[in-house]
Symmetry: C2
Subunit: 415 residues, 2 copies
């Protein structure tokens, strides 16, 4: 009988490709594989005890509220806490600018829902976050791209790319997923200048902004936009940039707590869209997230995360040096200042999707880079996650990866 | 700057009307208004202590799993529990037929996403659930309708309605939202017969099925379809009916836990769509729901809910008799065998949207019926919720409603 449904699938299902990331996440559950494929935070850092105390306190004092329906916008004290939290980073908004979403993935879906008509062009970095491509594609988006280098989006090529007439620019300035690279201040300013000049608004996706392991904090686009010298906003939110962030990396992804910052009338549209999508996020999880965070715990906890992930990044960088000592081989990698990912490039002739098959036999996994490139290319790239493995696993896994690559290199020489 | 976004809204936002239900839910927060408008379960029945113990147990024993990402399909033990639970109601499926969703609203959204092309006709009861109309409308659905009476969908008019060439039939056979009416077995069999004959599949939405206060349980459509005499399924799921249910009414809506039953290949499409939508439901809430339910607590708890809601229904029915003693007035109401809602009809000339303005002044609220009618009509109808008020509130609220209606009637006589 299921053919009865199959012949009824909407056209947009043809755009749903079985996600490579999803297929690969299956490897992470095999205990003997060392996986750098996921984007998972290290569970050893989850504040289990704090969440337990918070859940108890919420159910003890406000149980009947926590288990009831609540407003689509989100739990007001949580939204207020987010407003205060962002103010410390220079993002000056009020509660009506904030909508709670079920992870940043839902923010991306709602953006697709209220902004994307079939055939609309969106301007993406090449490469960019796969989840955004998936979400926007479902609404019929097409992609124009601007190249990225070790400093992120190449803003000198932005005006060229704008000729495609994009509806908005989607950018991840901090420790980008997948490449781990960060846009310097000058490029951010240039991006805002061009965005303002041509009147093309920006979606700034910032899941990792707080996870910086070296160098100085760089202002987010939303702050640079608010501080522009020619305008009279005096640091107040202009509405030009829709800003996304999340507790998935600073608290726990299992609670699915993230938020969108947008102008009030755009928030109203998001709220209407979210109402038809899932009514609201879990009241309980929102109250637990607030209870954990309200005393400043998350800020303190972030220090610990930075320390551990920064160390793991160092371990991976050292392991890569050891596994690929010969620079003439042409294997290169980024040195991310923060975030969860490192990005490696192999020689041109080496297709990392093919390489993965060998790697899995060698019991190590990564994400091949090509699917992250809406503008094509990247067949010789891969994403390596360093947040969710112990030191010795990172060392062993990178050694296995080194062996796998070297075997291909030897075979290539013979040909 | 927000005009920059406004001029970029997708065309589908024009179909988003500010929800009347949502606007009305605002009344429920005013303490002096007695609201029959929401669809809220009674918070006095929430198993706060059981959820507290479950949350503690989950975080104590599996905290690092509960706070981590997990699979899009949902927490396997919860899906297995749902399979066992449904088997007791004659729905014989396996875990691969079950996807966990963030409330039934997300199930409706995912159905829209994978099945509805702009302009597709969907066959709905007139009236039907507003949330389904909202979800499907976002994907460009148009609606064909079949009338409903005090026994639900009038199946004798179904073949006529099928001439519109609908993609599927959406039905709520048990204690329908908004009318509270229930389809008798004969109509259900007739619906399945016609669906099979014409090859038009069915979405069966069953959030209230367990909340029956009088009369005998009637088999859901999905079971009748599996038991059809001519076919060889022997009670095994045919895939013809996609079945939706939820823990929102039997456990707690704040956890946003519901599920879809569908053929495996359709579940795969739902999973791909959900991945781009929000990745997964809260791992923590899924594990808490499983922990609360695994020892059979939900089944026991449902007995208590039935008792209390059944009583509240009786109180509302008695209050209506008292408030509208004169049958010649033309105010009628349904006697629901279960669920959360009762449906009242006023004289033809009385527009309940207008009446609501008076009612709010009188400090009582309900939902005017017209928005529930995709095929038009219903201007003299209203939905009354009886699950979320104490006896004396129900009595006082219905008395106020009676006064409000009578004032209109007097004014009408004068004209």
């Amino acid at each position: 009988m299921s053919t009865l449904w199959k012949q009824r699938y909407a056209q947009r299902t043809q755009r749903m490709t079985s996600s490579i990331i999803r297929e690969l996440l299956k490897f992470t559950t095999q205990p003997d594989i060392i996986s750098f494929a996921g984007g998972l935070p290290g569970p050893d850092l989850f504040p289990v005890e704090e969440v337990k105390e918070a859940a108890e306190a919420v159910l003890e004092t406000k149980g009947r509220i926590a288990l009831q329906y609540s407003t689509t916008e989100g739990y007001p004290p949580l939204r207020e806490m987010i407003v205060r939290h962002m103010a410390r980073y220079g993002i000056v908004v009020d509660i009506d600018n904030v909508l709670i979403t079920s992870g940043s993935q839902q923010a991306l879906d709602l953006i697709g829902k209220i902004l994307v008509n079939p055939g609309d062009k969106l301007l993406m970095e090449n490469p960019t976050y796969l989840g955004a491509l998936q979400a926007f594609t479902m609404y019929g988006a097409e992609f124009a791209t601007v190249p990225a280098d070790d400093d992120g989006m190449v803003t000198s090529q932005l005006e060229d790319a704008l000729r495609a007439g994009p509806k908005f620019i989607y950018a991840l300035p901090n420790f980008q997923n997948p490449t781990g690279v960060t846009m310097p201040l000058e490029r951010r300013q240039e991006l805002i200048r061009i965005s303002d000049h041509y009147g093309i608004p920006i979606i700034e996706d910032d899941p990792y902004g707080q996870l910086r392991y070296e160098g100085e904090h760089i202002k987010p686009l939303v702050v640079i936009d608010a501080e522009c010298l020619e305008c009279e906003h005096n640091g107040k939110y202009t509405g030009n940039v829709i800003y996304l962030s999340t507790f998935s990396k600073t608290l726990a992804p299992g609670l699915r707590m993230a938020w969108i910052v947008a102008p009030k009338d755009v928030i109203n549209k998001f709220v209407q869209a979210k109402q038809g999508t899932d009514l609201q996020c879990s009241t309980f999880d929102q109250m637990v997230a607030y209870e954990v965070g309200r005393g400043g715990f998350i800020d303190r906890h972030v220090h610990r995360i930075r320390e551990v992930y920064g160390h793991r990044r160092n371990v991976m960088l050292a392991a890569l040096e050891k596994a690929f000592p010969d620079a003439s081989l042409g294997v290169r990698w980024t040195r991310p200042q923060g975030g969860l990912f490192l990005w490696a490039t192999t020689p041109d002739w080496l297709d990392t999707a093919e390489l993965l098959k060998d790697a899995v036999k060698e019991k190590v996994a990564f994400v091949p880079g090509a699917p992250f490139f809406p503008g094509g290319g990247g067949h010789n790239t891969m994403r390596l996650n360093f947040s969710n493995a112990r030191d010795e696993q990172i060392e062993e896994g990178i050694e296995r990866l080194g062996r796998t690559v070297m075997r291909r290199v030897e075979a290539h020489k013979v040909q």
